[in-house]
Each structure stands twice: as C-alpha cells, then as structure tokens.
Symmetry: C2
Subunit: 144 residues, 2 copies
C-alpha cells in the first residue's frame, strides 16, 4: 500500500462522514505509515513535534485522531500486557503478533491453521466470531 493509497483512504473516510480533511489527520496517519515499529500516542506526538516544529499538533489532537482513525479502520491498535496501546497501519491483511520480552520487537505473522481452529472453537461454544488477538511472548534470536 502506497502513501497515496493511505491518504486516499483517509479522504474517502472523511468524505463519507461529512467530516473535514485536516493537515493534522494527514500528519498523524503519515507518521504511523512511515514507522517500521508500532507506535503509541506519545511517540507519535513526539515525532510530530520534532519533524514539524512550526506546525505543531497538540497531544489531545493525537488522541482524538487515533480514536477516529481506528474507528474508521485505517489503523489498528494492539495493547500488550499492561502497557500502552500501540498503533499500526491497517493493511487489511489480518495477522497476529510475536513479541520479544527483552527488546520489545514485534513480528507479525499469519497462520491459517490457527485461524481455522479458532472458527471451530467459536462454533463449539456457539459464539459468532468477530475478531481475535493472539500474542506470543518470548525472546527473539538477538536477545537470547
């Protein structure tokens, strides 16, 4: 997904709800898109203040827009253990997370067998499955 796609999706989402397309929304989304790592609200705010000294974005705006972007499905959040919520661009490819407990590295993966097994479980308990999260915690190769 290119940056143009990402901004395009934002424009569509905004138009659909008769909301405004603002520089701040674009900047926040761009920051998440450009980051290799998952970011929390404060990290996003810090990146914005550093790279945009003249055009500042308030922390409240960051929080408001993270909620907005998540609700519209443009970004995804993941909250590990008792830590802060971290955000990533929604590539519309579902995946789960493998987390290193030493360095905090997050690796994304997808396993079809597990996805299928989950459906079986849900059926067994008569649940209608909407979503799921799976986090594997361990120590990555570098940190062992």
């Amino acid at each position: 997904m290119t940056k143009q796609d990402v901004f395009g999706n934002l424009k569509i989402a905004v138009k659909e709800k008769a909301l405004k397309y603002t520089k701040q929304r674009e900047l926040i989304l761009e920051t998440i898109y450009n980051s290799k790592n998952h970011l929390n609200a404060e990290q996003i705010h810090k990146k914005l203040t550093i790279s945009n000294k003249d055009d500042k974005v308030g922390i409240a705006t960051v929080y408001r827009n993270l909620l907005f972007l998540e609700k519209t499905g443009l970004i995804l959040s993941i909250s590990l253990n008792n830590n802060l919520k971290q955000y990533e661009i929604n590539q519309h490819k579902h995946h789960d997370h493998l987390v290193c407990m030493r360095c905090g590295k997050i690796v994304e993966f997808i396993n079809q067998n597990i996805e299928q097994e989950q459906e079986t479980i849900a059926k067994e308990f008569k649940f209608k499955l909407l979503s799921h999260t799976m986090h594997l915690y361990g120590v990555c190769e570098n940190c062992q």
Copy 2:
C-alpha cells in the same frame, strides 16, 4: 483446587520470601477464588467493603496485593482491549479466552492444536516462546 489449597499456596509463597501472611492478602485471594467471573481491582475492593464492613481493606492494599499475587503466580491477569485488568485464580491449567462483546462474558478454553502450532511459529522466527495470550471476540449464544 480447594480454598485450603489456595490459602496453603499463599502461606508457602509468603514464607519463601520471608514476608507476612495478612488477613488482607487472604481476603483478596479468597474473593478472587470465590468469584465465578473475572474481577478488576475496583470490583474486588467493592466486594470486600460490602462483605467486611468492620474490617476494611484500602484500595491501595488491593492494588499492592494484586501485583504481589500475580508476581507469585497465585493469580492471573487478562486485559481486554483498552479495558481494565481483570484477575482470576491460577489453576495452573493454561487456557485461552472467548469474550462476548455484548455482555462481557468470558469463557475459558484450551485447544491443543493451537498450542502446537504456536510452537511451530516461534521456531520459525527463532523465538524462544515463554507465554502467549489468545482472545477470541464475538457474540455469545444469549446475545445473538
């Protein structure tokens, strides 16, 4: 696991670390043991104030002991989405969670196929697996 086992485990954990066995620790652990549902800190505190009007337990003590009990492995915590941490007795039987998004009901389950598949994934990414959480979100039979 009987209540005697639970209290026995607490006595052992406390003795091992040369700490004190207090009424409050026992009460908090008992509350979690007696509850069918997962409880958060505030719910535990409320239950204690209702059932023990004379012998009151401060909210700070609840938090301090929840951390203590979790660290010693007597209880487990699960934090759903962006909500509060909820606690349950550690039965030493690993399980995952199926959560109803309407009524909040939590069902525990265990699936050996998924456990195995997780090991495969960890190996593939050269992670040493320590633990994992899996939460399936959906709508339970009653709420559909």
